[in-house]
């Protein structure tokens, strides 16, 4: 080994040994790099009142708040791009800080710069050792969205029945299904299923406003709540059909889905309950 390569190896080793311990204290989203030390100051100013000095969601305001502030020591997060039971990506947390949580006391932090937000993400990760022992899950890939058609909406409505979404969300998506009143989150606090029909034109989902965000909610599940992941049981294209149907449950919100439904007469055709089992085979039009 010559002197140059020796030095290279030595400096590489140094770089690794320095970089690894501090990696958990950093967060990355796009071109931004957040630093926990900077995030700590921001946290003490903006977040501590609800999330508490220990990050366990027991800040002095927490007793007045429902739903309760997130407990960062559990490292369980609702809005993720990653599978149920895995850590979210830094980008997921960064998006949550900026977006806020509708129907909760968590505002969208417009007053903070992008750099502030990513610094906070870096600091939030210091509350749980999971960030040093586990890696975030691999984001679940989302295929391109197909055209919004009556066929897609109708198939989505069938899935809503088949997957029994209505057990909690109700047949009209009003959050009044037979199990709705019994639901509790993982800390045994009562929790309501999402009411699609509530809200006006600006009504939005907890984890974002785009159709991709809706797709992610039921595919990844909302960890820490009764909402499970359907990643293993709904195929990617079927998932888009369900997204298109769910949009039609937001009756007060203007959407392409509602336009398509209105143009088709406003009614989703239902399959006859006694339809023969081979209907699907005829419809697919192919042989074996």
């Amino acid at each position: 080994m010559n002197a140059v390569s020796k030095r290279f190896v030595l400096s590489l080793g140094l770089a690794v040994s320095v970089a690894v311990p501090s990696f958990a204290q950093q967060a990355h989203a796009g071109n931004l790099t957040g630093h926990a030390a900077d995030g700590k100051k921001l946290y003490r100013r903006y977040c501590i009142g609800c999330h508490g000095p220990l990050g366990d969601g027991n800040g002095e305001n927490a007793q007045w708040i429902d739903p309760k502030p997130r407990d960062f020591t559990a490292a369980t997060f609702k809005c993720r791009s990653t599978p149920t039971g895995t850590l979210p990506t830094d980008q997921d947390l960064y998006n949550s800080v900026g977006r806020g949580f509708t129907n909760s006391n968590m505002p969208h932090w417009d007053a903070l710069t992008n750099q502030n937000r990513i610094d906070l993400v870096a600091f939030i990760k210091s509350f749980s050792p999971r960030w040093t022992t586990e890696k975030p899950g691999d984001p679940i890939p989302i295929p391109p969205e197909p055209a919004i058609t009556m066929q897609s909406i109708t198939h989505g409505a069938e899935l809503f029945q088949k997957m029994e979404c209505w057990k909690c969300h109700g047949q009209q998506g009003r959050g009044d299904g037979p199990s709705a009143s019994t639901l509790t989150d993982s800390k045994d606090n009562p929790i309501r299923p999402y009411n699609f029909a509530a809200g006006a034109d600006d009504s939005r989902f907890k984890c974002g406003v785009t159709n991709q965000d809706v797709y992610k909610i039921f595919i990844t599940g909302v960890d820490g709540t009764p909402m499970p992941s359907f990643a293993d049981v709904i195929q990617p294209n079927d998932a888009w059909d369900l997204v298109h149907f769910l949009r039609t449950l937001q009756t007060n919100r203007h959407s392409k889905e509602n336009d398509v439904l209105k143009a088709a007469g406003g009614k989703i055709p239902t399959k006859a309950p006694d339809a023969p089992a081979n209907t699907d085979n005829k419809g697919s039009g192919g042989g074996n």
Partner: protein, 234 residues
């Protein structure tokens, strides 16, 4: 003489795997004193496909008392003394949802052993292990979907629930040892294949908590270790 020596060597070779595995046994019975809380009858009328599977409505299984004050569904395992077994058994354990009930109510498994979750019902369930040391997850399992596979790699007693059917409660006992047993309907349990040594035996009941006892095993003896829990009347 050489023939006899050869015989002894052969005997030693034959016996040594048994010695390695251990031939000692701890067996006993789990009982309670006092009056256990009356279990609640479960109303499944909101899920007719399950309700009709139970001509006599079932009750909650938080405490399952049997004849002669025996206590069922108690996890009994070696919590100290046995070396941690790094390798999980190849055979998976199965947790079945049938009639909107978990079968078994308490399922023990080794860390990293494969767990299969089966839905035998005509309704969707969501399997939601409320893990705190392992990762909490929550997955939907509609009727007719294949068994779901999972693993937990840290020792933990994990409550499991189905949010759709709030009466469904169960437990996963994830252990670092394969020396475990769940007490049967007579309260009995048996921990076989123990090499000689000093062990701590832990018994855990979901409502009554844990108890431990120390026991020393020498040779291939069977030692009796009984556990008695004080019932909570409410």
């Amino acid at each position: 003489m050489p023939a006899k020596q050869l015989f002894l060597v052969a005997l030693a070779i034959m016996v040594s795997p048994a010695l390695l595995l251990g031939a000692g046994t701890v067996s006993g019975k789990v009982t309670y004193t006092g009056t256990p809380a009356k279990q609640k009858t479960i109303d499944m009328s909101k899920e007719p496909s399950c309700a009709k599977q139970h001509p006599t409505p079932i009750t909650t299984e938080t405490v399952v008392p049997g004849a002669r004050s025996s206590l069922e569904n108690v996890v009994v395992y070696i919590s100290a003394g046995a070396p941690d077994e790094p390798n999980a058994p190849a055979q998976a354990v199965t947790f079945t949802q049938k009639g909107c009930q978990y079968i078994p109510h308490v399922l023990a498994m080794h860390t990293s052993q494969e767990l299969k979750v089966v839905n035998d019902d005509q309704t969707s369930h969501n399997i939601h292990p409320l893990a705190k040391i392992n990762r909490e997850w929550n997955k939907s399992q509609p009727p007719g979907t294949p068994p779901l596979s999972a693993k937990f790699d840290k020792e933990e007693l994990i409550a499991v629930k189905c949010n759709v059917h709030p009466w469904m409660h169960g437990y996963f006992a994830v252990l670092k040892t394969t020396h475990y047993a769940i007490s049967g309907d007579d309260g009995g349990f048996m921990l076989p294949d123990l090499p000689p040594g000093k062990y701590t035996i832990t018994a855990w009941q979901e409502d009554y908590g844990t108890q431990t006892q120390d026991v020393t095993i020498s040779g291939n003896e069977t030692k009796t270790v009984d556990f008695t829990f004080k019932a909570k009347p409410y």
